[in-house]
């Protein structure tokens, strides 16, 4: 058996060796103040957004049904969704097919490049 090739146990020990984490921690450099400030501003924006949304969400009394409708013989609602797609939403469905087709054509044209025709 070749000794230069580490087996899976050696690589496991190397991966979770605490000495590696200590070395990485000792060599970690503190980022400059403006980087920390930018990260703080971003986190403040997102935290403010999340706080506003969560508070307004728990302050609203949503009107819901008392019990979820379920049919014990047929648990899925695929049939109802398909019926709805092909009756009420048939025009958006066709428009969506055009959108998907054109976007995929554009994507393939852009990703193809000129050199490998």
């Amino acid at each position: 058996m070749a000794t230069d090739k580490p087996d899976i146990w050696d690589s496991f020990v190397h991966e979770f060796n605490p000495r590696r984490f200590l070395i990485r921690l000792a060599h970690m450099e503190i980022p400059p103040l403006e980087v920390i400030g930018r990260a703080f501003v971003r986190a403040a924006i997102v935290g403010l957004f999340l706080a506003v949304v969560l508070v307004s969400l728990y302050g609203t009394s949503w009107t819901t049904v008392d019990h979820l409708p379920q049919n014990l013989e047929d648990q899925s609602n695929i049939k109802a969704i398909g019926t709805l797609i092909f009756t009420d939403f048939v025009v958006p469905f066709e428009v969506l097919s055009i959108v998907l087709l054109s976007s995929l054509m554009g994507a393939i044209y852009m990703a193809k490049g000129e050199d490998n025709q």
Partner: protein, 100 residues
């Protein structure tokens, strides 16, 4: 029965994670992944309201939104590929091709 608020809170948290990634990342692929995260948060909202109001059309909207997300991801990754061919980088901070 799980309250509706829990679904909405989960959706808001996922949207916030996506928003944070969207404004903090520089890699184009990561930004596209965060956009997908935000779209899927909207899908969770649509499906939750649809089932809790016993109205099926929200789930159809969710299907349409998934299809639109697929189109958006295809276009986005194609743009990323052509940018990478041109510049050998996908760091969006260094990219000012469309800047006025």
């Amino acid at each position: 029965m799980i309250p509706l608020n829990w679904y909405l809170a989960l959706s808001a948290i996922i949207f916030a994670i996506g928003l944070y990634g969207f404004i903090s990342q520089k890699n184009g692929i990561r930004i596209l992944m965060c956009v997908e995260l935000m779209l899927n948060a909207a899908n969770i909202n649509l499906v939750a309201f649809s089932s809790y109001n016993d109205d099926m059309s929200g789930q159809v909207f969710a299907l349409f939104s998934i299809a639109l997300a697929a189109a958006e991801a295809a276009i986005g990754f194609a743009i990323m590929m052509s940018i990478y061919r041109m510049r050998d980088a996908i760091n969006l901070d260094e990219l000012n091709l469309l800047r006025w």
